[in-house]
């Protein structure tokens, strides 16, 4: 039981590292939290709500995202979109990611 949990934690840590990049990459156009969650899941990355929402707030506090409340279907939704600062950071993160993938492919092949 404990062993399974620790394996799950390792996998979780591994995935957590890519969520920031995944989130920034998918917010070129505005999305609200739940639509982003589904978008990421459709692309194959299941993210827990408890991870995504605080992350969105943190990225906004860091100036990498901007958000605005919109009233849709009688329900207010908070839309997030990548900021100018986030747009500057994204290519650097993509390059870093490509480097990591290359190195890890070499190591694991």
């Amino acid at each position: 039981m404990a062993k399974t949990e620790s394996i799950e934690n390792v996998v979780l840590e591994l995935r957590r590292g890519v969520i920031v990049l995944a989130t920034l990459s998918q917010l070129g156009s505005a999305e609200y939290g739940y639509s982003l969650l589904k978008k990421l899941a459709d692309l194959g990355l299941d993210v827990d709500q408890g991870t995504l929402y605080p992350l969105l707030r943190r990225l906004e506090a860091q100036g990498l995202l901007e958000s605005v409340w919109k009233l849709e279907e009688a329900r207010p939704r908070r839309y997030y979109v990548i900021s100018a600062e986030g747009k500057k950071l994204l290519p650097k993160m993509k390059k870093e990611w490509a480097g990591i993938v290359k190195v890890m492919d070499k190591m694991l092949s």
Partner: protein, 339 residues
């Protein structure tokens, strides 16, 4: 209030006290509504309470959800922790040493070297040292908990010297306008401890003497000294505020230099006023003779205390005068350089 509203409200109760609590609650409600709508569409069933329960169960307990929004899950963060340990070691060493020295003086002057009274004084001294250490620990933790929450993240980040440290800086002349964070933190802690002793533990400002049947406490200061405490508090709080401001800004400017001059001048004035005030010291031959002392011993002890206090105050005045002159010199130097 439906189940979703009750859940959102319960999460809100456990959210940390930060800006945006209402925002988090509003977003959470919106997300849950989206989830329910999605689920109803996919299953082809109408939304009902069973579906709400299912969604809420999936989302997790309110405490767990609220915890994910907590930016400070710890009292003192990893970046401030090394400074906390640094200051704590100094404070504990000073406090425990002072308490043990006081107990030692008391044991030597008050009783024969052996016997129950001697053991009792040593035991009491160790007990006092332990309780003082625990109180000092609590106060240091409190100061750092406040610093952790008052200082902006980037300032706390700059405490992490390892990332920014450049070996080449060893050869550089220190910038006279830069501040030493560790000194400031140590000063904040010591000032805070002084405030705590003066206002919360004034009973520590005295000595216990043990007779055969009872222990007698002699306060060092009279009520006249405590009339100065509000003014001392103002100066000490001013010092703490200035130190916190300097911690945030990391460099001296004309305003902080001027504030330093004002605070040093106020400290010096206060010390002179305390020294000049009559009947500040509570030790007198008459009062001590009521305790465990013989009249002659009481006379000697009172004389020592009466002379020691002005001498100590004179030393404090000299140190404060030097600090004031330094502060004035640095202010004028800065003004000249910026003119």
């Amino acid at each position: 209030m439906n189940l979703i509203d009750r859940y959102v409200s319960e999460v809100g109760k456990h959210l940390p006290l930060l800006n945006g609590r209402e925002d988090i609650e509003k977003e959470l409600k919106s997300t849950l509504e989206d989830m329910l709508e999605d689920r109803a569409q996919n299953s082809g069933q109408a939304r009902d309470e069973a579906m709400e329960i299912e969604v809420l169960k999936e989302y997790g307990s309110p405490q767990k959800v609220a915890q994910t929004y907590n930016p400070h899950p710890y009292l003192i963060g990893p970046k401030l922790f090394p400074f906390f340990l640094f200051v704590l070691k100094i404070v504990l060493t000073v406090v425990v040493s002072v308490m043990l020295v006081l107990a030692g003086i008391q044991a030597v002057t008050d009783t024969p070297f052996m016997g129950a009274d001697f053991a009792k004084i040593i035991g009491q001294g160790l007990g006092s040292a332990l309780s003082a250490a625990i109180a000092a620990f609590g106060n240091v933790v409190l100061v750092f908990v406040i610093l952790e929450r008052v200082l902006p993240d980037k300032e706390i980040g700059s405490f992490d010297d390892e990332k920014e440290w450049d070996p080449a800086s060893l050869a550089k002349e220190p910038d006279p306008d830069s501040v030493s964070r560790s000194e400031l933190i140590a000063e904040i802690v010591f000032t805070f401890v002084a405030l705590a002793i003066l206002n919360i533990y004034p009973q520590w400002l005295g000595m216990f003497f043990f007779t055969e049947n009872e222990q007698v406490f002699f306060p060092i200061f009279t009520e006249k000294f405590f009339q100065f405490v509000p003014y001392i508090n103002i100066v000490l709080v001013g010092k703490i505020l200035l130190d916190i401001y300097l911690l945030r800004n990391a460099i001296w400017n004309q305003l902080t230099r001027l504030s330093k001059v004002v605070i040093e001048a106020a400290s010096l004035t206060l010390t002179v006023l305390i020294l000049r005030a009559p009947d500040i010291i509570a030790f007198s031959a008459e009062s001590l003779a009521n305790g465990p002392f013989e009249p002659e011993q009481a006379e000697i002890f009172a004389t020592i205390a009466t002379y020691t206090f002005p001498m100590m105050m004179a030393i404090v005045i000299i140190i404060q005068s030097i600090e004031l002159v330094k502060a004035v010199y640095r202010l004028f130097k800065m003004r000249r350089e910026t003119a």
